[in-house]
Symmetry: C2
Subunit: 311 residues, 2 copies
């Protein structure tokens, strides 16, 4: 294979109660990557669109190219590859932008080379891309972007990733308010110690959410989407959060929370109609306080990356 074009999805990490251990993938938005073998023996970034010039073009510093360089080094294949990256989602939005690029790159180069890596190896290389971009090798965006559906990261050491089922009628509404929250700030604001009684509620909800996913019990999924630990602190960083969440719940969504470290907010609904209505209502709430936003309504992506073209 000489060239390949791959889509990798955005993802919602944490899913209210599952801080650092749960995430799910979206059908839209996401990133597109195009790889073409070249004769130079070098990995080059030829083009990046949709990033407003924000992403590094140094192949060692850009997560997509860094992932590819690392994989080629691991496989001892001194190939040249031209990379074109089309960011079709906002950066720094809490929707796993760097994870989508890292997964797109790792998945695409593995396909291009005839799948020498198994899926856990692809995951680990994509996590390296996440580390390049964010400084930490979290898997709660990378793993759902790669495997699709809901994913549980039970443990990091050793890495233990479990794909969970996604009920057929589950839709996500995601809204990205055009404000910036740095992932580092969203981490630093958290307390290192928490109350045991709140932790008990949280792991009860993790159990309920996972049980609801296995049994397609939409009401249980909704009841379990409560975050007693992180949301009360992080929501302070998102102006209008309470009103936006209330608007979503009023529209009949199952539950609503912060996507990853924010500022995007997500809701889960049974069926697309509620999901679309909720997204509109959430947008109106942000607009009331002068914040423009982008909305995405999508079934939960159960597939992960897609090969769009190859030659």
């Amino acid at each position: 294979m000489e060239s390949i074009r791959v889509f990798a999805p955005a993802s919602v990490a944490n899913v209210s109660c599952g801080f650092d251990i749960l995430g799910f993938a979206l059908n839209t938005p996401g990133d597109e990557i195009i790889l073409n073998q070249n004769d130079s023996g070098e990995v080059k970034i030829v083009d990046i669109t949709g990033d407003d010039g924000q992403l590094p073009k140094d192949p060692e510093k850009n997560s997509a190219s860094a992932v590819i360089i690392n994989i080629l080094k691991h496989l001892k294949l001194p190939l040249g590859i031209d990379i074109r990256l089309h960011k079709k989602m906002p950066l720094g939005s809490g929707l796993g932008s760097s994870a989508a690029s890292s997964v797109a790159a790792a998945y695409a180069v593995n396909e291009l080379l005839g799948n020498p890596l198994d899926s856990m190896e692809v995951l680990e290389f994509a996590m390296y891309g996440e580390k390049i971009a964010c400084g930490s090798d979290h898997a709660d965006n990378v793993a759902p972007a790669l495997f699709g559906g809901f994913v549980l990261i039970r443990s990091y050491n050793p890495l233990d990733v479990i794909k969970l089922p996604a009920p057929e009628e589950l839709y996500a509404s995601v809204i990205h308010p055009r404000i910036e929250i740095k992932t580092k700030d969203a981490r630093d604001i958290l307390k290192k110690q928490i109350q045991l009684k709140n932790a008990i509620k949280q792991w009860g909800n993790v159990g309920g959410l996972i049980s609801g996913l296995y049994t397609s019990d939409y009401e249980l999924i909704g009841r379990s989407m409560v975050d007693h630990i992180i949301e009360p602190i992080r929501s302070i960083l998102i102006p209008g959060y309470d009103a936006v969440k209330a608007a979503a719940l009023d529209s009949g969504v199952l539950g609503c929370g912060i996507s990853g470290s924010g500022p995007s907010v997500f809701a889960l609904s049974r069926g697309s109609r509620v999901a679309r209505e909720a997204a509109q209502k959430m947008k109106e709430e942000f607009k009331k306080i002068g914040i423009e936003s982008d909305i995405y309504v999508s079934k939960v992506n159960n597939q992960g990356p897609i090969v769009l073209e190859q030659a």
Copy 2:
């Protein structure tokens, strides 16, 4: 119906990672209760065996009779009932002794009366019995004793109880060392604040354990049976705990932990052979330090209470 004889099972609360939210029922040991209608209009305790005289015989203070009095009051039925309670399990062992009695009583009287209460009402009355006995209305022994199998208590307020599947080949080894730990001491020793990083590991394991139960993934169940919060503290109260646990793990069990607030220790295995061997090895370890113990090996009880006789 004039009389009924019911068995209700012992149970293992917490199940390593699920402090206060998870429990499962055993086929053995358990309690037997016999109810006979009398003409006096009073609820009386006629006989208690197997408690070494430890349980109160005042009908308002004994959990079994208190549950029955409460149910009759709720139903406005001024019936007289003679109660015979046969404790066939150790008291204060961490195996849900008071829960078994409370569930046996609530289930038996409901059957005797032709099932006027639904199962959630029976649960709430049984929780009242637990409160009489222990001072707190925890459900993590009562709910599995009543519903059988594994049970998740997602939330207490409102009460939200979810029955989880129990894989077919799952066996429990339970060992009760003949030492005493007061539930209150086992609670007081815990810290009110915990590290967020440990809480994250804990809810990852809760997710893994529940996922393993749904998919009959025995290895995942085992990997998830790790307690980063409670066991490191409570195990100090159980002499020889580390050696007993090591003996169980060496025998090939999936995982091992403290049953409820102890002092009993439990392990889960795939198949009965490993479960039996592990129980023997655990017993030998306690014996080495001069502690006598009782062992129980049982399939996970998927049924809850059983009506043994009625007339």
